[in-house]
């Protein structure tokens, strides 16, 4: 249903003048960027540039100090079920007593609501998602008994089970072997072919051009954003990775020491 209700030429995510602060320390300055619907988009930038923060802000996981974020032209709360999320692999407790299938089934929890249990259709959707990342044979494994690449595939399967229109992924290619990287890429491409939008934080500059068709380049502030051909230029790369803007660092430090940032609620 989502592909019909959302025009493919529209905007999937609009980030409007957004500033985000952790413990009063600003980590994103006045970000203004629109990700087109149907894009396979990368967010790139050096460590600590605020890439994950931007993703979490779109998901409503972090309070934004100022600005506004819209998903498919609406506030996030109205379109939650159109959004799927793949967190960083390190962010969870892999010793937790759940099986691979349990984790993938969690992708269905969002549409269930509180107190309700997954039914047969949910289980079937989870099975299908597991199959599409080639992990069916591991369904009964405890999740700590997987390699890094397999864990990443399980996370991807959980997002697929969400059957969303917008996929937000935090470093889906981090720490995976070459074969897994290719199969993850295939899944992302097939999502795009189905008219869905993928926005992924990405670390490997070598592959940005061949994997993605849209890029947002971030280093506390937005350096550039646009189709790969126009935005992913040597000049922009230099501006993204060639050291922080020192003045911005000084302002950040001043804010941390002194005042507070206003919080919009």
């Amino acid at each position: 249903m989502p592909a019909e209700t959302i025009s493919s030429t529209g905007i999937a995510v609009e980030v409007h003048d957004v500033t985000v602060a952790y413990h009063r320390k600003p980590v994103l300055w006045d970000i203004d960027v629109s990700f087109p619907a149907g894009a396979l988009a990368a967010i790139v930038g050096p460590n600590g540039a605020g890439k994950s923060t931007l993703l979490k802000s779109v998901l409503g996981l972090l309070p934004i100090a100022s600005g506004r974020i819209e998903v498919f032209g609406k506030p996030l709360a109205q379109v939650r079920n159109l959004v799927a999320y793949v967190p960083q692999r390190e962010s969870v407790d892999w010793e937790f007593p759940v099986s691979v299938f349990d984790v993938v089934l969690m992708g269905r929890y969002g549409r269930l609501g509180w107190l309700r249990r997954p039914n047969r259709a949910d289980r079937a959707a989870a099975e299908a998602a597991l199959d599409s990342v080639g992990m069916t044979e591991f369904r009964e494994r405890q999740i700590s008994q997987l390699s890094g690449g397999q864990q990443q595939r399980v996370f991807l399967a959980r997002a697929l089970a969400q059957d969303a229109t917008l996929y937000l992924m935090d470093e889906p290619f981090a720490g995976v072997d070459a074969a897994t990287e290719q199969s993850i890429l295939e899944v992302l491409r097939s999502l795009q072919q189905q008219g869905r939008t993928v926005i992924a934080v990405h670390h490997d500059l070598q592959t940005v051009r061949s994997y993605f068709d849209f890029v947002a380049m971030l280093n506390l502030h937005l350096v550039a954003a646009g189709p790969i051909d126009t935005a992913f230029t040597a000049d922009n790369l230099k501006r993204t990775y060639g050291g922080r803007l020192t003045l911005l660092d000084e302002v950040t430090e001043a804010v941390r020491r002194g005042g507070t940032l206003p919080r919009s609620s």
Partner: protein
């Protein structure tokens, strides 16, 4: 004396005494709920919140007595709940508004509130009405002092919290595993945490009369940790934690009913808390040692079997290599060839003898035909792996043997086939024919063996 104990035990087992029945019902229900809620708290890494809560509750009980001047469990527990929650809130405030870390914050709150509680209860004991307060039971628990209404309250609170877990099972599961994902679904993660902590607070507080403020946290934490040795699924994990808590509650309070009270005890009856926790601790110790796969014994057995297999394979390989060098193999020769320790070497020799792989005559060891076959397979995987390391991983020839030694015992037949394919060996190896087809030459020419990897 012994006779008395026996008759007590008999009465207890047959549940003849209605008071005993009631007490067991109370501590059993409490143990069950504490096991389940505690297991969730441990998974959510909030185990010590129960500890802080229990200790911080003591002044609440005292204040309730000072205000109402009577022994009333509901009022005591209300006081305990208020102060327990106050303690947790103080802890969170310290963590949030200062740079003090969680462990230090817990210690500060737990210690200060508990100290206040001890001071207040000392004051109460000196009051004329003080010895009727029953406050001494709150330190280490005294299940025998419970009346029907107390048990009803405990059972109701335990039932309520179990119901809460059953209703929000899926929610607690996801929030425990992946907070960020739960948040991305629009779930109010902090509300779910608050509900879990409320259930924890309720169970902790109703547990105080039977278990006491000092050891309540142990009853919350130990059953859940014990359950993890037996399963890696959440539902059985919680069920087992509940079962272990139930057993601890039942057997602990049963023990306290039959054990003679120590002389120094302020009132009749052995403190229940230590006995309940001792039972829980025993279950933990048994699981730690004897649980299948995760228990220490199972892990030790697996490790020993692996070490033996490695020794066996080394022995056969060594004998084959000595045979290649045309050196008659003796125990002395073997120890110069590889840094064998005599114990493991003799054990490996006798195992190989009993399997019919070698003969040992006049201090000379020789491979039987079966042993030769077996050693060829071992040599083959060793040399293929060596060659692979050398050609594809760029390891220098004089280092390759040591690296290969550490891994070769884990090489499966499938992996071996892949090495062969990559190295383009197999039947095309021109240098070897017959039994040695497919076995590469050693990277170390005879006489220059560097076969001395460090042994554990």
């Amino acid at each position: 004396m012994t006779k008395l104990l026996m008759s007590d035990l008999l009465r207890l087992i047959t549940l003849q005494d209605s008071n005993t029945r009631m007490v067991l019902l109370g501590t059993g229900a409490l143990g069950l709920a504490a096991g389940v809620i505690g297991a969730l708290a441990v998974l959510r890494r909030r185990a010590l919140v129960g500890d802080a809560l229990a200790h911080a509750a003591l002044p609440g009980v005292c204040v309730a007595f000072l205000v109402f001047r009577e022994r009333s469990l509901p009022l005591f527990l209300l006081g305990a709940l208020v102060f327990g929650v106050l303690g947790v809130l103080t802890m969170n405030a310290i963590r949030r508004f200062t740079r003090i870390k969680e462990d230090a914050a817990i210690a500060i709150v737990l210690g200060s509130f508990f100290g206040l509680g001890i001071a207040l209860s000392g004051m109460i004991q000196r009051m004329p009405s003080g010895n009727r307060s029953g406050l001494d039971g709150f330190l280490f628990g005294k299940a025998a002092g419970m009346v029907q209404a107390d048990v009803t309250l405990i059972a109701a609170a335990s039932g309520l919290s179990l119901l809460g877990v059953a209703a929000l099972y899926k929610e607690f599961k996801l929030v425990g595993f992946d907070r960020a994902f739960a948040g991305s679904l629009g779930w109010r993660v902090s509300l779910l945490d608050f509900i879990l902590m409320s259930l924890l607070a309720i169970v902790t507080v109703v547990g105080l009369p039977a278990v006491g403020v000092v050891l309540m946290a142990a009853l919350l934490i130990i059953p859940g940790v014990t359950a993890r040795f037996w399963t890696d699924r959440l539902a059985p994990h919680l069920a087992l934690a509940g079962l272990f808590g139930l057993l601890a509650g039942l057997f602990g309070s049963a023990l306290s009913a039959v054990l003679p009270a120590p002389q120094s005890a302020l009132s009749r009856g052995y403190p229940t808390g230590p006995l309940i926790v001792l039972v829980a601790g025993t279950l933990f110790a048994v699981s730690l040692f004897f649980a299948p796969r995760r228990g220490l014994l199972a892990r030790w057995t697996t490790a020993r079997a692996l070490h033996r297999r490695i020794d066996d394979e080394h022995l056969l390989r060594d004998l084959y290599e000595l045979h290649e060098l045309r050196t008659p193999a003796s125990i002395n020769q073997l120890t110069t060839h590889r840094a064998w320790r005599s114990g493991p070497l003799r054990a490996a020799i006798s195992r190989a003898q009993s399997l019919g792989f070698i003969t040992h005559v006049d201090n000379t060891l020789a491979l039987t035909p079966a042993g030769r076959d077996k050693s060829l397979r071992i040599i083959r995987s060793h040399r293929l792996w060596e060659l692979y390391l050398h050609e594809h991983a760029g390891v220098a020839p004089d280092h390759v043997d040591r690296d290969a030694d550490l891994i070769e015992h884990f090489i499966t037949p499938e992996l071996l086939a892949k090495f062969e394919a990559q190295l383009a060996l197999g039947d095309g190896d021109a240098l070897r024919t017959g039994a040695l087809a497919g076995v590469p030459l050693s990277l170390h020419p005879p006489g220059t063996s560097t076969d001395e990897e460090p042994r554990r």
